[in-house]
């Protein structure tokens, strides 16, 4: 199963995708609250976000997948506010305790399996510096999420992704 988190219109996204059943799509089609930094997803309702909306169970849903695919407008070398909000609300996926990876402090994994992570960034006139930051960001996210394989792609327009997402 794959989790696809994106910031496009859902109808438009479906035109870009091949028909598959093993995919769960997280779209910006219902109001999403913002992470309030309470760490309730670690110390109150482990893995689940305490905020009550359609996005409170992102971490347990990611745990049922073997790949996370992100489609995002590249924003200052990072994700767009919606995609970032989904990631901020998903930190229950990792464990609050720390471990050391590559000489740095990171969070331990909550789940034993390792995900693959693919990011498709789109945007016109992205600078090489923004692309470098976005590439490094996916690597850093992968290190924190303890992913196995990490891939990053850039496009000028979302249309260019057709047939390349899955």
């Amino acid at each position: 199963m794959k989790m696809l988190i994106h910031d496009l219109e859902e109808e438009y996204l479906l035109q870009l995708l091949e028909k598959r059943k093993d995919i769960m799509i997280t779209s910006n089609n219902t109001p999403i609250q913002r992470c309030i930094g309470c760490f309730g997803c670690w110390v109150k309702t482990p893995a689940y976000c305490v905020l009550k909306d359609e996005y409170s169970d992102l971490a347990p849903r990611i745990a049922a997948c073997n790949e996370v695919i992100l489609i995002s407008r590249c924003t200052y070398g990072g994700y767009s506010p919606f995609v970032k909000n989904v990631l901020d609300r998903s930190i229950g996926y990792i464990h609050p305790d720390f471990t050391i990876r590559k000489g740095e402090m990171h969070h331990k994994s909550r789940y034993p399996q390792q995900l693959n992570m693919t990011a498709h960034f789109y945007g016109e006139d992205l600078t090489p510096e923004e692309k470098k930051t976005a590439t490094d960001l996916v690597q850093a996210n992968g290190l924190n999420l303890n992913t196995e394989k990490k891939q990053v792609f850039f496009y000028q327009q979302p249309d260019e992704m057709k047939g390349r997402i899955l």
């Binding site: 989790m3 913002r34 609050p96 402090m105 850093a140």
Partner: protein, 221 residues
């Protein structure tokens, strides 16, 4: 000189970002008593058009926010987009120099590097000049060190870094980022943090093993 102090933490009270701004503010006031501060807390609220207009009078703008998933918290990112749009359209007007402090729960200050780079990219889009970034590690322990004087004990590195950073702000310097970790062993920080999670879990009626629960739900396809 007018300086905008912008707290991008989603926490309403006791944020490490707010503490860093308070410490910096004291240093800036000591260096130049004539500085006027205008302060924003961007937790939850949408940024208003009145606030956007306020930016036009600032000579410096200082952001302070926590590292979220290796980057900028989503709510603050949305505010930055509105600020960028406003600043970009203010052609012919002098733009504030931008200084940014990012604090991470991780021990190593350099883990804030990408968030600082993102603010540099934001500056280019908003036609502002990036002054300097300060990446602070172990942000989780800042509130417990509030009573320890800057430059002393575990706050030794933080004191030095904030002093240098405040001088950059006052003199409108463009400098390389500073990254600091506390003067406190990493292993001790790690164990203190992990103990704290268990204390909080117990207060919420959980057992320590509950912190490791592994719920999985099949996706709604």
């Amino acid at each position: 000189m007018k300086i905008g102090l912008i707290n991008g933490s989603p926490k309403k009270i006791n944020s490490a970002s707010g503490l860093l701004l308070e410490e910096l503010k004291s240093l800036l006031m000591k260096a130049d008593g004539s500085v006027i501060f205008e302060e924003w807390n961007l937790n939850e609220k949408e940024i208003t058009s009145e606030q956007l207009m306020q930016m036009e009078n600032w000579e410096r703008m200082i952001f302070s926010f926590p590292l979220y998933v290796d980057g900028i918290p989503a709510h603050f990112l949305a505010c930055l987009q509105k600020m960028e749009e406003h600043l970009r359209t203010q052609t012919g007007q002098k733009k504030p120099y931008v200084y940014v402090m990012v604090n991470a729960g991780f021990y190593e200050g350099h883990q804030n590097r990408l968030a600082i780079d993102m603010i540099s990219h934001w500056c280019k889009k908003a036609s502002c000049v990036m002054g300097q970034g300060l990446g602070v590690g172990a942000g989780g322990m800042l509130s417990s060190l509030e009573k320890v004087p800057l430059g002393k004990g575990p706050n030794r590195n933080l004191g030095k870094a904030l002093q240098a950073f405040s001088e950059s702000v006052i003199h409108q310097k463009t400098e390389s980022p500073i990254y600091i970790s506390p003067n406190f062993p990493r292993i001790a920080y790690r164990f203190a943090a992990q103990h704290n999670w268990r204390v909080q879990a117990r207060k919420n009626g959980l057992k320590p093993k509950d912190l490791s629960s592994k719920p999985k739900i099949q996706p709604k396809s």
